[in-house]
């Protein structure tokens, strides 16, 4: 009797809240998953503690190697920083030039538009390392005296600017096209020309909107400065690699990795913050 009543009550409560009935298997699954995950983690820890933990530590996190390689890595990383700061400044301008060419109005501007589209297609499609290789080793061979005298650093800047200019042009384009046409109509109806409308009304609004995706591309650019090592520039990765090769230990590379993460994380947080702030503002307007 008692059992029966209890069963009935259970059935009733289940019926009363169908969500809970659905939730129960999900919760059971989640518990099993969590338990399995913990078990795996414990087993892995045990295994590493018995066998490889020290090897791993000695290969990647050897303190004396981290310490000894750091002056050289730091010197190299400083070059990475210079590379991306200069490249980012150029990319901001170059991307805008490209997108304005891409969106140039009228029949007469068609060749300009095609050129911009071709540029964007090519440099977004090429692997970064291929572009860097072609720019860094190809241009000096062309016999153009300007390129013969150029320092290696500037080939790196040029390659990164070409690569990221294409991405950033597309980011700008998304921003410009997101500005409602009625804004342009209002500006044109005041008598502003197309270029004045872009300059005073459309681009300022577009740039504000694309700051988060722009910062995202800049994070990519910062990391890709390490690819410049193929040109033989003694930037962070090259120096870390040389140390690693000489000492048969990868701690120097880990040290460089830490440097990159340390400068990237604040950038990521800043992007997150800006995106959130934008969303809040949009909600406030709506």
């Amino acid at each position: 009797m008692l059992v029966r009543r209890a069963e009935r009550r259970l059935a009733l409560s289940d019926d009363a809240n169908p969500d809970r009935r659905l939730l129960r298997p999900a919760r059971v699954l989640a518990t099993i998953g969590l338990a399995l995950g913990l078990l795996l983690a414990v087993l892995l820890a045990l295994y590493l503690a018995r066998n490889g933990l020290r090897d791993i530590r000695d290969t990647f996190f050897a303190w004396e190697h981290l310490r000894d390689s750091f002056p050289s890595v730091r010197k190299g990383f400083w070059l990475n920083i210079k590379l991306f700061v200069v490249a980012e400044a150029l990319v901001l301008v170059w991307g805008l030039v490209v997108v304005l060419a891409r969106l140039a109005p009228g029949k007469a501007a068609a060749p300009v538009r095609w050129l911009a589209i071709a540029y964007i297609d090519v440099f977004r499609g090429l692997p970064a390392i291929v572009t860097i290789y072609l720019v860094g080793f190809g241009l000096p061979l062309t016999g153009i005296s300007f390129f013969e005298d150029l320092e290696l650093f500037w080939f790196g800047v040029l390659a990164l600017t070409l690569i990221y200019g294409a991405y950033v042009a597309e980011v700008y384009r998304a921003g410009i096209e997101s500005v409602h046409w009625s804004q342009a109509a209002a500006a044109r109806s005041l008598g502003l020309s197309y270029s004045q409308t872009m300059r005073f009304v459309v681009v300022p609004q577009a740039v504000r909107r694309v700051i988060p995706p722009l910062l995202n591309d800049f994070i990519g650019l910062q990391k890709d400065t390490a690819l410049i090592n193929v040109l033989g520039l003694l930037e962070g990765f090259n120096r870390a690699r040389i140390y690693a090769g000489n000492n048969f230990n990868l701690s120097s590379v880990v040290g460089l990795g830490i440097c990159f993460v340390v400068i990237t994380v604040p950038m990521t947080r800043l992007t997150d913050y800006l995106v959130k702030r934008d969303q809040r503002r949009l909600q406030a307007v709506a």
Partner: protein
């Protein structure tokens, strides 16, 4: 010759013939109200006069100059023709003052100080001098629309086109905007209004046209249109408006 002359204007969007042979003249200091249901082509007509849309047939002349789709002619036209939109379309990234000063500064080439002074005077006139430093999203709809009117006036236009400028406003904010339009009318500004505010139209219009499915069915002084419309479709439209309590 009338200041604004519209003759046999046609405009199509795809297969849809939005304006089918519109004729309309507006003399200087006249206030002409275009009434008609939504989708009857009122906005399109105003946008064609300003050159924001190109006509497919017919001609429009403003101050004896035809409205052509070339940039030079259009920019000159737009200095003389101000337009105010239903949705204000203020520039959200500029302060109220800069919104108003932008045209004088960049289009008319006034020195910065002079442009700002003109903007300040206009803001003072619409009673929003204290909002000069604010951004548009801090203003109410009615205030934003008043700023939009000031922005158009800052170009010192000879003709103002008002495109349902109170349709997006909360009812209690309509009066403050219409008050400014009324002032403009008494000062003798030539105006062409597309509007749903029938009592206002009746009040300030020198001439009312009823636009229906892209052509003007009836035109005349407000008293005649509103009290004894000749066309049965005008009568039916007004009946619906009266039933909705808008007249």
């Amino acid at each position: 010759m009338a200041f604004l002359e519209i003759s046999a204007v046609e405009k199509r969007f795809g297969k849809n013939l939005v304006l089918q042979g519109v004729d309309l003249n507006v003399d200087e200091h006249e206030v002409v109200c275009v009434i008609g249901a939504s989708g009857s082509g009122k906005s399109t007509l105003l946008r064609c006069i300003n050159g924001l849309e190109a006509v497919d047939a017919g001609t429009i002349t403003v101050d004896n100059r035809p409205v052509l789709q070339d940039d030079f002619a259009l920019n000159r036209l737009r200095r003389e023709v101000g337009i105010v939109f239903q949705n204000f379309n203020l520039f959200p990234h500029m302060t109220v003052l800069r919104n108003v000063a932008l045209g004088p500064r960049e289009v008319l080439g006034l020195p910065r100080a002079e442009a700002r002074e003109r903007a300040t005077r206009l803001l003072d006139r619409i009673g929003l001098a204290d909002k000069a430093g604010e951004y548009p999203d801090r203003l109410s709809g009615g205030q934003q629309q008043r700023v939009a009117i000031a922005r158009a006036l800052a170009m010192q236009p000879k003709l103002m086109l008002l495109d349902e400028i109170t349709s997006a406003l909360d009812p209690e904010l309509v009066a403050e905007v219409l008050e400014i339009v009324r002032e403009l009318a008494t000062e003798g500004m030539t105006m062409l209004l597309a509007t749903h505010e029938m009592s206002f139209a009746r009040d300030i219009a020198t001439e009312v046209c009823f636009l229906d499915e892209g052509s003007i069915l009836e035109q005349g002084p407000p008293e005649q249109i509103f009290t004894e419309p000749a066309n049965p479709r005008t009568a039916a439209f007004l009946k619906r408006i009266i039933a909705a309590g808008r007249l």
